[in-house]
């Protein structure tokens, strides 16, 4: 599900959970075990051909939620969100530079994972999206505040309100990604970037990061509460049901 390798001060975190690195309970537990200690730079990538990460495991969310009473479900979702926030905050505030190497689909929670990193390197096949509103939700892993700190508010609104995906070139123009490379070359480019950053004095790198990278703590909390408030509504449960039960070539997304 997750493999890590520390070499020459660069920690590589490889996501490899079929079909699309969906973030459910198992993936979360694996992420929580990632130890950033000893690294001078971090590269996060997916070794799956299909893409980086499709986001939260909606099938697990739907099926687990159905088996629970409303109060139990609320608590379960809140606990899950707190844990994923804790991991993403740790990644966001890590005292070393971090790079996400992405390709294919970077959707929902997958985009939120990439946004917690300092830099994003994308190959030309990449598409970024926040499809949550299509299911009656907002991103819940901290995606809105983190996207807002990197790109104009107009693009945040565009992505959120339409649920559409944008390609790597558009993301580069908007400042969401730092580098766009040929298909299949994102990890190579991210490794080169991490190796460069790992050369520098760690204390200086950590100080520079603390100085320049804002951490939107309050907004992250507010987004989580908004997600939880919206999640309980029947419209969301119905949208999740349609999404999970849809067997067509394109999943249900209004």
């Amino acid at each position: 599900m997750i493999r890590t390798k520390l070499e020459n001060g660069v920690l590589e975190v490889e996501l490899c959970r079929e079909p699309m690195n969906e973030i459910g309970r198992e993936m979360l537990a694996a992420l929580e075990k990632v130890d950033l200690g000893g690294a001078r730079a971090v590269v996060l990538f997916s070794s799956l051909k299909q893409g980086f990460c499709a986001g939260a495991d909606l099938r697990e969310l739907y099926h687990a939620g159905r088996e629970m009473k409303p109060a139990e479900r609320r608590k379960g979702v809140r606990d899950f969100l707190k844990r994923i926030h804790a991991f993403l905050n740790r990644l966001d505030e890590a005292p070393v530079p971090t790079v996400a190497a992405v390709h294919g689909a970077v959707f929902g929670g997958g985009l939120e994972l990439a946004l917690a990193c300092d830099l994003i390197v994308a190959d030309r096949s990449t598409r970024f999206a926040f499809p949550e509103l299509r299911l009656g939700l907002v991103p819940g892993f901290g995606g809105i505040p983190r996207l807002k700190r990197d790109v104009p508010n107009s693009l945040v609104r565009d992505l959120l309100f339409t649920g559409r995906s944008i390609n790597a070139e558009k993301a580069l123009q908007a400042g969401l990604v730092g580098q766009v490379v040929a298909e299949g070359q994102a990890v190579r480019a991210a490794r080169a970037t991490a190796a460069q950053m790992a050369k520098f004095d760690p204390e200086t790198a950590a100080a520079a990061k603390r100085f320049i990278k804002p951490f939107p703590k309050e907004e992250l909390m507010r987004e989580m509460e908004l997600f939880l408030e919206l999640f309980e509504r029947p419209v969301v449960q119905e949208a999740l049901r349609k999404f999970v039960e849809d067997k067509g070539p394109m999943p249900y997304l209004p």
Partner: protein
């Protein structure tokens, strides 16, 4: 300036080349998913290829409900 027929032909050429399907077997009225045998992730790949080839942005919602190449070519053409 491209005609709609040219857009249609370029779309069919591109889809055939990318998904390694015999170009001669693709017709504008064919169902894209059935003919190419693709899933939603591969549809995203096609979307990216089309945006890059034609130099346009194609919002996903413009493609909802589009099942045949001709309609897809129309959606692209109006953005050229």
């Amino acid at each position: 300036m491209r005609t709609q027929e040219q857009t249609e032909n370029e779309l069919l050429d591109l889809a055939a080349a990318h998904f390694k399907v015999d170009r001669k077997k693709l017709r504008p009225e064919d169902d894209i998913f059935q003919k190419l045998g693709i899933d939603s992730l591969q549809a995203l790949e096609l979307l990216t290829k089309l945006e890059r080839h034609f130099g346009v942005e194609l919002p996903d919602y413009e493609l909802q409900g589009v099942s045949d190449f001709r309609t897809l070519a129309e959606r692209i053409h109006v953005r050229l």
